[in-house]
Symmetry: C2
Subunit: 229 residues, 2 copies
DNA sequence: GCTTGCGTACTTGTATACTAGTACGCGACA
DNA sequence: TGTCGCGTACTAGTATACAAGTACGCAAGC
């Protein structure tokens, strides 16, 4: 089929294309919580067959962004505080374990990379560049995970992002939000640079709790996105 | 097809059937590391079509028990110390985080369940019942995870089991192995019962490290199961 | 004898056809 | 008017057909 060649970016499979498109739509609430999804409709919409769509949905189910009920339907999950608490728990457990090792082992080259990231974040804050900041935020957390030598830490932590991103994107970008994030990132990196594992753990825990604080506001703004309306 | 009705246990899908069969074969080294798997052959062997086999293989790839190379083949992964270290890292991070909460919050009913499990383990050790002991071991860890209120802890920890089970099953059942396991389980449960989070964490970490100690012996016995022969 | 190139027989990825099962509306009946 | 029951139109699960790409052996030429 010509369209597959034309529309599909180089090096990306139909499965990845479907996954990226669906994840973006769900996290951005374009496909709102509770919405019923038809594999056939999605396949037609994305321009692939049902098979890669099903693969993508299976992956999204792992992230608890959709729920698949056999012979009945596939639904975008409601925002569930339990699911978000689970995501937070996993992210905290993995990244804290990683940063303990990172604080112990980090070398000068790696610390330089961390500081370079912080400088880039500083520029992004100054330029009010939300997209760059979000990317750098992710990069920093990945760097910290990778410093532990256990790349699985980031791989699994990343999977919890779906739940947390949904919260982040829905929360209104308050003034000074990115500035506070940057300050917390500085505190975390500072503790790692000082090889202070206890402080690094404390700062990271405090930092990760931030995203949870915006939940009540979202519930007020979008009660229909939650299970009990 | 009649066979699907006849051979498939009640309530289990073809996908689950394929997953269970393949996982068992790989963990038990019936399908040895490095072995090339053909989706078509596996489908015929298990008695289902390629679709559920592919679903099962995708799940096994998540557990790093197989590696799928597009247009080339699917292979049973070699035993990789990095992969095992990753599995250990994840298991430790999640269960330690969970047991801290468990030690703080555990109530009398839940502690009674833990002690009942220990008593059952005692009987299994006395009866030299390996299968029961393995099941009770899993149950205990799941109970400890569930005590944290974050059932995701066990769900993810369980996924690392593939790597660790492969080590466990290959390691010769040394005399007194289960007795030592039971003693460590007692220490962990004792710390939880005493609401001593620090001790619980220490005992759990020590306990989990045990499985790693058998790795060198396995490498000696089965060098062909490792990447560099 | 060695190298090169093509053809065949695989592989996974994707598309489509078919099966089993659920929800729901509409019509018949009490 | 209310209720029961069946038929239709969906659903996801599974099976199969097709496409794209890799490995490898064998034959031809140097």
């Amino acid at each position: 089929m010509r369209s597959t060649f034309r529309e599909r970016s180089l090096g990306t499979s139909a499965r990845d294309q479907a996954y990226v498109a669906l994840r973006k739509a769900i996290v951005g609430a374009e496909l709102e919580p509770g919405r019923r999804l038809s594999e056939n409709q999605l396949a037609e919409l994305i321009g692939v067959s049902r098979t890669p769509v099903r693969d993508a949905l299976a992956r999204l189910r792992d992230e608890r962004l959709v729920a698949i009920v056999p012979q009945l339907g596939t639904f975008v999950t409601y925002i569930d505080e339990e699911a978000i608490a689970d995501a937070h728990f996993v992210r905290e457990a993995l990244e804290v374990s990683a940063i303990r090792i990172a604080a112990r082992d980090a070398g000068v080259d790696q610390l330089r990379d961390l500081h370079e990231n912080l400088e880039a974040q500083e520029r992004a804050v100054a330029d009010d560049d939300a997209a760059s900041f979000a990317r750098l935020d992710d990069d920093l957390h990945r760097q910290l995970c990778d410093l532990s030598g256990r790349e699985v830490a980031w791989r699994l932590s990343e999977r919890t992002r779906g739940q947390l991103d949904r919260v982040r994107l829905l929360s209104l970008p308050e003034a000074g939000y990115r500035g506070q994030m940057l300050a917390e990132h500085r505190a975390v990196v500072g503790a790692v640079a000082g090889h202070d594992a206890v402080a690094a753990e404390r700062e990271l825990r405090s930092h990760q709790r931030m995203v949870l604080s915006s939940l009540p506001a979202i519930r007020d703004a979008h009660p229909e996105y939650f299970q009990e309306d």
